[in-house]
């Protein structure tokens, strides 16, 4: 049987994870918005460059951050998040 610590600790840990998640969201929001604002707009008369069969802006502004976000999510869930003991159900 593992030794129990006060709820306040689990609350603080949850809050820490909460703030970290907001930071991750902000990072990918800034990347996607900045990159796509610059690369995605239609330039009349110019051909749209393609990469891997997609418009190039989609690769840099959506696909690449998506792959990275998936990696960060896996790291966060399996490494950074801590387990918390939950009470038995009260009904």
């Amino acid at each position: 049987m593992k030794e129990r610590e006060p709820l306040a600790d689990s609350f603080r840990q949850s809050r820490k994870e909460f703030l970290c998640m907001i930071g991750i969201w902000a990072f990918f929001a800034v990347w996607t918005m900045t990159c796509n604002s610059i690369l995605a707009p239609l330039r009349e008369g110019e051909e749209v460059p393609l990469l891997f069969g997609m418009p190039e802006w989609v690769v840099w502004g959506v696909a690449l951050p998506w792959v990275l976000a998936l990696s960060v999510t896996i790291w966060f869930a399996l490494r950074f998040m801590k387990d918390t003991e939950l009470e038995e159900e009260k009904s």
Binding site: R4, P55, A77, E89
Partner: protein
Amino acid sequence: MTALLSFGLYMIGVFVLAIVANRAGRKKAFVSEYFLGSKSIGLWAFAFTYAATSASGGSFMGFPSLIYTHGWVLAWWIAGYMVVPIIALGLLAKRINQVGRIAGAITIPELFRRRFESRRVGNLATLLVVFFMFFFLMAQFKAGAQIMATLFEGAPVFESAVVGIEKITAELPWIGAAEGDYLLCLLVFAVSVIAYTTFGGFRAVVWTDVMQGVVMGLGVIIMLVLTLAQVGGLGNATRKLGEMTPPQEVRVHVILDEPATELFRVPKGEWIRLGEDGLVRLRSSFTMVPYQRETEWIDAFRITTQAEIEQILQSGEVREGMKATLFGDPKPYAYGDGLKGVYLTAPGPSATSATGFLGVMLALSFFSFWTFSGAGQPSYMVRQMAFRDTLTLRRSIVMVAVYFSLIYFPLVIIFTCARVLLPGMEVHPDRVMPEMAALLTSNAGVPWLAGLLIAAPFAAVMSSVDSFLLLVSSGVVRDVYQESINPKASEKQVKRLSYLVTTVVGILGVLAVMHPPQFLQHLIVFAAAGLGACFLMPMIFALYWPRSTSRGIMAGMLAGGITVLVLYLVGFLFTKQFGEYLLLGVHPFLWAVLFSSLAILIGSLTDEPIPEPLKERYFGASSPTAQR
């Protein structure tokens, strides 16, 4: 016929799971089991029930129609899904589950009520859940009926049944005005979902979600492979898309080569030549009577890309024996008319907005909207109360992240290619997914596979409807009846009432959706924004801010909900269509989050703090929960 058979097998699977789930839960306490699966949901079930509920008719019907209509810019529109699993599942889940267990809560309104020991906050939450969730139900019912209509179209038994139901309902007010095929499918779909949800409860919903999640994932992957093979590779499709320009809305007279000799009907969606080298697709049906040669004006879309016109002419789909002539001036797209490359870039073509479909501010709004409104949906929150332990949660986040990546980005690829394979779908934008499934499997010589592919969006719709039904009925049974009307109700009484309410809510949803708005996605975004606006910030403050009070939380719920309602009302007044008003280019959901937060802060700080024992119970060191 083979497609119908494979689809039928899928439906049998759903009902078998519901029966098994009902038996599995018989020996457990009814309310906790029926509405929350006794809080014992494991990894696969939790991950798939979350993913399947999240990927609703919007993802598989509304989203494809938007990709088809606006092109690659939808990759930006949906980009927020890259962080949805970590935010929507991670942000609140651990604390919701913890607080829910301490409180002994089974529903979200109950969690609020016990957290603040205030009946008023619980009642307000119930009211808001039922109100906004009803719009979700409407959207999902419409999606389910449309998928069925596509699947059954042309089957002799179905056509006879449609004629029969049109005769029966012709004189009925409200119902009689609905199209027969839609009405029949709506009834069949609704009866199926209501039956297995009512019978099996939460556990059946979760188990069928797992099966539906697998079907959805497989469906998308198979569609992706078939699509890329049939368009000759993604690069080829994207280059063709780059040459396309949006269609024009027109009104036409249709003139027959010879006067009609008998009464006949030309359905919506028929292709007709326009002059010598043009082509239109009808947006409504018309009927010709004997000796008639020319119609009144009819709404249609005029195709503007030469390559598309040639493709359709070669396909032999054009109706012979008649031609169309323009009536009045064409109405071009407000943004994108005649612009090559508009389907590959931002802001994307728009029929109504001169600034295009997706500006930067709106893109940012949606990036925030998908992630945070996802976290604020009561249907997801209630699942977060049901997982067994936090290890299940952590692994589920990973599974959902992988799953969403395999679904959402491939959908963008599939439906940008759909413009190349399936021109003119602007007449039935919400039917592009099932039409595409039928086309891909027919071209590949495996029509039986259409049943499975169509089962994918159908599964998405079913898995959402069942969850929403249960959420609304739990609000009525647990939060209204058990809490306020009959706290001493026996298990038998509660059981009967739960079955009854689930059925009645389903029937009301069907009646409300006889005449739904054209775009599914509008309804879904409205309902998601409304629920997120009402519950996201109140839940965050309730879980993470010990100083929050019931007055503050109620103010936050009302401020969020009212902001969304007002901005949609203003949107309706400006455009006369169901849609939001983007104040300063920002989606109503973000304004709602801002006003909701302010209301909670002001409401709580001007109120007496909650009693110390209550604060201690949920935040302090005396609770029996701990870190591992």
